[in-house]
Symmetry: C2
Subunit: 300 residues, 2 copies
Amino acid sequence: MTGAGWIAVDWGSSHLRAWKMEGARAVADVSSDRGGAHLTPGDFEPALLALIAPWLRSAATLVVACGMVGAREGWAEIPYRPVPCAPLAQVPQRVSARDPRLDMRIVGGLCQASPADILRGEETQIAGFLALNPGFDGVVCLPGTHTKWAHLSAGEVVSFQTFMTGEIFGLLSAQSVLRHTIAPDGWDEDAFVSALDDSLSRPERLAARVFTLRAEAMLNALPPATARARLSGLLIGAELAAARPYWLGQPVAVIGAPAVAAPYVAALTRQGAAPLQAQAAAMTCAGLAAARALITDYAP
Amino acid sequence: MTGAGWIAVDWGSSHLRAWKMEGARAVADVSSDRGGAHLTPGDFEPALLALIAPWLRSAATLVVACGMVGAREGWAEIPYRPVPCAPLAQVPQRVSARDPRLDMRIVGGLCQASPADILRGEETQIAGFLALNPGFDGVVCLPGTHTKWAHLSAGEVVSFQTFMTGEIFGLLSAQSVLRHTIAPDGWDEDAFVSALDDSLSRPERLAARVFTLRAEAMLNALPPATARARLSGLLIGAELAAARPYWLGQPVAVIGAPAVAAPYVAALTRQGAAPLQAQAAAMTCAGLAAARALITDYAP
């Protein structure tokens, strides 16, 4: 019954987005800023209803959700599955809802024993990418607050690694002594590239370089947009140096919103990789459709 | 007239401390939390008067201050002097005060053209250390929110470098996704040492290691005090790796409050250095006395 109507939901810590689906096709979408980080477990159902009520029928409608909604602090905790495994290693799990119009299912995340790591939400983007690129064997990079690198082979996630680059950039640029030195937007491509190359070739010196942004602002009036691009280059360079075992000599795909993906694509391209690019939202929607296809106990 | 009474003031971004001096000897001290980061330029004089009024005479009393009080956002901006130079490369500069009981002087900081760097306050600790250890030739490490490493030779600061290790530790442990994973206090020496060695030997992998603290907390119930010590070890290891050209094969002295200095002393000792230790407050007081001795236009 995959042609029947259902609802796909991407519920991260900072965002909530829902698609009205006919089979694997999205026919409408809505979003809000009610990310899971701002909600207590009891808030999830009302927040979802406020967004999707116009799409509900009197009978139960299937809702398939991924992301923080399945975390310990989410609607209900769905366990992690250990890699290596398919990105959708388990059928989305039914969780209870008070409103009888909701037949709620949540996709589980993945974990790795050593080095210890976890992801939740990205498994769905990876599943969507594999659905649209069957047979892909290589590495996907999913940049964001926490960037994930995953090695994919034979339809499975073999290993993965998380970098806090986006969160560290945010903390340093907005809350550290560098906050007066770094513009909230603007860019300087030459400064980005130069810092990237520097950090990639001598990543062990990153700790020594960050404060030079403050010093150059004080001594040489370093422009704040240049400082912003240079900090980004330093941090992404250090990430790429540490992630080199992932991307070196491998087919690479970057899955992300264009603004977030762009510096990673530029950086990988400079290193001789020729990264594919894929839109995060489209991959999530395709991944939720793949998750829906695993569900056999629902007949509208 | 160095035997006459005067007042020494250490005014950083987060603290204010004053000593009542007889020559080079402190006879009383007071402190408050009115650090410069919380003050506008007009707030400095009232904040100082509130602390030291009981020590003032009707005639002008000499006050010698160092630290953020001399920054652009301080009482008055005192220019940086470029290294190489003596730590007290200029006579403390007289700045205006509304209250005639204050004859206010402020010590200037140091700057370095390449790599761009600045310091303000540490020059006084270094001057105090050199006054108490004349002829010292080697490296001083001043751990804190921003740790400074300085190479000293023939009574001059030859070069220096700033690391934001303390501030980054604070941001990651209190404001990032790691905040639920890391205890506000507590320690695990084995975890510290293991993370330190790991980070020192492969500093380029730091970016890949930070999130493992979160993952291990979720998967293996990593104790929060162990996570705290491990994060400290990772960050100090990365700093020591980048600062290796400073400390390797050099006499090293760590100047700091005991709790802040301890992990640096432990880390350097493990690397085969045999660091001297000196108390930051005592060095600051001795340095302000050395700065006071440069002032020839004051006669009480």
